[in-house]
Symmetry: C2
Subunit: 233 residues, 2 copies
């Protein structure tokens, strides 16, 4: 990357950038399909759940509690009053209390970024769940600031940058989501490094990755410190 | 109040300090009891729900989605597989989409505070729901900063004050909850104004109001600007 001006602040996403997240949802949704198998096939369950999630997104927002409520609603729609309830509550609870697995190399990468830049965690979802994951990850000390946001639209990023006192041209966002970490930051005039994860939630999948001079895709978070060093050298 | 040093930052709580909140939960819980009447009496329902909320608080945190999940779990415990589900999902949704009623005099009080002090909204609960209520209240422009916190323990206030760059002796918190707005701030060495609301969630009820030289109770938010002016005069 060839930065017009030096990057001051690096934003780093949490779920599936620093620690595993979608794998646990994928596993839980296999279990949802299994529990609803007497009433609907797995593809019908997946489609119905995605539709419920899309419909409820503006009311519920992101996170495990929203997911649990969406699963319960979908089950009622597909199975009527016979739908199980307690097993879905338990699935949600297990997502909220399960182990937090930091991705290989993530800690070293964030520590390296912190030696040359202000590094800010920018993560969306439930406050309680994100705080828990950050604490369990052991990475809390790596960030000069932590911002848990209700969504990652351009307006939210714009508010965060005003608050951090950094112009978009000096902000770089690193994350696994085209939709949440790349597009809105480019739209504001910032920079983005996309680090894809092997699985992406259906609502975060981009139709086509945007081609842009201020974005790059790398295979691993470990490559990001060198991108910034190469430029400042 | 006789402040040892001038107050720099005034924190103001949201739910039942700026806008009505508990009334809607109280009404919803009447409806929960009605729906569960074939299985348990209203007092048994209230006790069971409070127990579930207490047990799940560290996992779910505060807010409407947590409340909905707690109601669904309680209903399963009391009524088994016959328990209704869809009506509880709808009750939760109505709490997340209902009108936001700003308390009389709240806007004028916060605007008056803003003319002499940095005023910060400090509110806990769901990110999406608190953002929605703030936007719908029309009060967003009254605050120099908005902090939506997962809990209101002393550690959370301490982190906020570090972040705001204000020592506890120069911070005053205004809110309706002894447990969330008064006790933790006094514990840190800050000041608190308690503005009771007519109904308090069972988990926020204090055994005995603490008597302390750095706290005062007033009947209305409208009295707070004069408390601060009287001192600085």
């Amino acid at each position: 990357m060839r930065f017009a001006e030096p990057v001051e602040v690096v934003g780093v996403d949490g779920d599936d950038t620093l620690w595993r997240c979608q794998d646990a949802f994928d596993d839980a949704e296999v279990e949802v399909a299994r529990l609803l198998a007497p009433y609907a096939g797995p593809e019908q369950v997946a489609r119905a759940l995605a539709r419920t999630e899309r419909t409820n997104l503006s009311t519920y927002g992101f996170g495990v509690k929203s997911w649990t409520l969406n699963v319960l609603q979908t089950a009622q729609e597909l199975a009527g009053p016979d739908a199980p309830v307690v097993p879905f509550l338990e699935l949600g609870r297990s997502l909220l209390t399960g182990p937090v697995e930091v991705l290989p190399g993530a800690e070293e990468a964030v520590l390296a970024l912190g030696r040359t830049h202000r590094v800010v965690l920018v993560t969306k979802g439930d406050l309680v769940d994100q705080r828990r994951k950050l604490a369990a990850s052991g990475l809390a000390g790596c960030f000069s600031h932590v911002e848990i946001v209700p969504d990652k639209g351009p307006a939210t990023y714009a508010e965060l940058l005003r608050f951090l006192g950094v112009p978009p041209e000096r902000f770089l966002m690193v994350g696994n989501s085209e939709v949440s970490d790349v597009h809105p930051v480019l739209e504001l005039g910032g920079w983005a490094v996309h680090v894809p994860y092997r699985t992406t939630w259906v609502l975060e999948r981009a139709e086509t990755p945007v081609v842009h001079e201020r974005r790059v895709t790398v295979a691993s978070l470990s490559e990001v410190p060198a991108l910034l060093r190469a430029d400042s050298a």
